[in-house]
Amino acid sequence: MKAIKLAMALVMLFGLTGCWSRVELDEWAFAFGLYLDVGPAPGTVSVTISTPLPNHLTSGQQTGSSGGANKPYAMITKTGRTIPDALVMIQQDLSRQLSLAELKVILVGKAYAAQGLTDLLEWITRDPEVSMGAFLIGTDNVIQTANLTPIYEQIPSQILMSFASERHMLNTSARDCLVASSYGLGYGLTYITSSSVPTPEKSADGNRTWSGINGVMLFNKEKLKGTLDLEEGRSLALAYGKLKDPSYTIYWNNEKSYANAIFTKTSSRRTVRLEKGRPVFTIHLKGRVGLTTVKDQEGRNANALHNLILRQLNRQIRQNVEQALTKTQEAGTDAMRLGSLVEWNYPKLWQKLRPRWEEAYRKEVDIRVVTDYTLNDYGKQN
């Protein structure tokens, strides 16, 4: 009887630890980045995966310095009618088992975004291996952005992920897109553009690909509806409360005087109320600000300067955010998910508005911005 019990315990141990489907760590190829663009033939999608190469990741190696065959990452591209089709084709050419469980960033090209992200979001919703926490980022050129020079990091996908996780602009995840779509609302993705910049060191042609944040892509009903430039994108991110440590330079005296303000804390809140049966939204922005540079040609005293800077700062931020939100209205994209506030507060009105929210958001909605920033750090000088 003891032998039977022991045998049973062993069988359970083997079974429950997943020995049946085991794949050793060195048999996996973990994709950290997934890059999507339209394929060469109509109706196809070009899928590129970026996987780290552990045998090329040596300790002490200077980050971003490896090039050519010694790159610490591999990129494989295939084209298929659907994303899973292309992934199957990638798998066919791999000696290792492809895993998407560690997928951290999904980059979508502008042309693919214009066609719509419906297939991508459906795939993310369905495939249990793909995390809904993966960040989504847009780009004008997938190949160049995917091959950006990873200064400070070893793999380009780490840079892309940092753009989102460090909240340099929006940190939209697949879940955010899915939630917004489920309400019938829009969303924004950080927009990265690439360019060739000259570099003095180790240059064959003297240039390197440089990719950087250049605005926000606006999506509604999973389709690209427009873009915001860098300043507008930052304002939208600030309004969303997603921007980390933003800084603003404010000018007065015909730009002869200026101050640079860095935000030590920011928060945002959205409210809605009805005015003559129409929803009026208010974005409340609040925060604490410190100064890093002040140049006042008129030499005001501290109190006058304090009031002036605060007044200018609040006005400038208010104007910038209003301008960004007006742009989203022009694009018919409720990237702040303001429509959800109508559903939560006025469900009956939302039932009427929801089918034509894009139009209503464009023409009937009034958005106001209220700012309340306080200055509590003058820097080293008093």
Partner: protein, 363 residues
């Protein structure tokens, strides 16, 4: 066995946590609205009433096992029918448990492993747990209880980070009486499996403070379910939230967040509670079947009953659409409530003992 006043309360928290706190939430979100919380509270109040009936009928009959005293109250045939119903319900419920395991593990961690193998392993684990006896179940639940409390506190941390609190306004701005009733009945069907209390004697006694203690545990469970419901609602919204089975939600966190790294721990705790759940059900099924065999063949019963559950689960594993249809169907809810009302039938039979009156009249 060593007993303590709160043992039953802890056992039932572990028992209900495996199912109610996990699978009730997607069912409540199916209507894509914000008023599930009212249904949870309505179901909770209903379950307290059923708990009172259960404790009352057991204590009124001298803390004897229901299998023994039930026959005196309702007669051989009607009691036999109810015992058979409970037996079928326990086995069927265990099959649901086993299929839930297959569904989750085969789509995540054991993708290449065939369902029959996962089912066999689960079956063996349940078999082993059941053969250790009721006291082992209770002791295991004690340990798991602490883990559950720990993981719940951890989930609260996640909740505060990602939730959209402005959504809470929607919980009071929309109301639909029919939906409240529907959610209340569904919640009741998940919350009120007190029928299992009829099987804990003679190992555990339902004493004077038992109702109060289990009611407190039930209140805790109600809060846990409310909290789980809020968690899904505020992170995913009612429309997207309705599309996922709960364990997948754990895997949907930001890949950089610490929560995503602890998914195996949370899933491990859930799995262990499920084993307790299934083992308890099979234990009750064995007690029921022994009623018909007059106590014979006890050693054979566990493998046979788990084998039947294995077959049902295997069928479901290969017919997923049917499984989902049955799991979330109204008929299943009604069947569950019919079973859960059994203590009420017996309480009424105890209060209005027609048979004994006839006997005394004849005398």
């Amino acid at each position: 066995m060593r007993t303590s006043p709160w043992q039953l309360a802890r056992l039932f928290i572990v028992y209900f946590n495996s199912q109610a706190a996990i699978f009730l939430v997607p069912t409540l979100l199916n209507d894509k609205d914000y008023q599930g919380w009212m249904g949870i509270i309505a179901g909770y109040l209903g379950s307290l009433a059923l708990l009172w009936f259960t404790v009352y009928v057991v204590r009124a009959n001298g803390n004897k096992p229901w299998i023994q005293f039930g026959r005196k109250l309702l007669g051989r045939w009607i009691h036999g029918f109810f015992v058979l119903l409970v037996l079928a319900w326990c086995v069927y419920y265990t099959a649901f448990d086993m299929q839930t395991f297959v569904l989750f593990f085969s789509s995540n961690y054991l993708r290449d492993t065939p369902p029959w193998f996962i089912l066999t392993i689960i079956g063996l684990v349940i078999l082993y747990t059941v053969t250790r006896g009721f006291p082992t179940l209770v002791y295991m639940a004690e340990g798991l209880f602490l883990l559950i409390i720990g993981t719940m506190a951890y989930m609260a941390f996640l909740f505060t980070q990602q939730a959209d609190y402005q959504m809470m306004r929607a919980m009071v701005t929309s109301f639909d009486g029919m939906k409240l009733m529907k959610h209340g009945v569904i919640t009741l069907s998940w919350f009120a499996e007190w029928i299992l209390l009829l099987f804990v004697a003679p190992d555990l006694k339902l004493e004077k403070g038992t109702f109060k203690r289990i009611a407190i545990a039930e209140t805790g469970l109600c809060l846990v379910v409310l909290y789980s419901w809020l968690l899904i609602l505020m992170i995913f919204g009612p429309y997207l939230g309705a599309e996922f089975d709960y364990p997948y939600v754990i895997r949907s966190m930001n890949t950089e967040s610490i929560m995503s790294k602890t998914a195996p721990l949370l899933i491990g705790v859930w799995s262990a509670s499920m084993f307790i759940h299934s083992a308890f059900l099979i234990y009750c099924a064995i007690r029921s079947v022994l009623h018909f065999t007059r106590g014979k063949g006890e050693r054979l019963m566990a493998p046979v009953l788990i084998g039947i559950a294995w077959l049902i689960a295997y069928y479901y594993a290969n017919h997923l659409a049917i499984y989902r249809m049955h799991f979330y169907s109204t008929v299943t809810v009604i069947l569950w409530i019919v079973v859960e009302l059994i203590p009420v039938y017996y309480t009424f039979a105890f209060w209005f003992p027609l048979r004994r009156r006839k006997t005394s009249a004849a005398a």
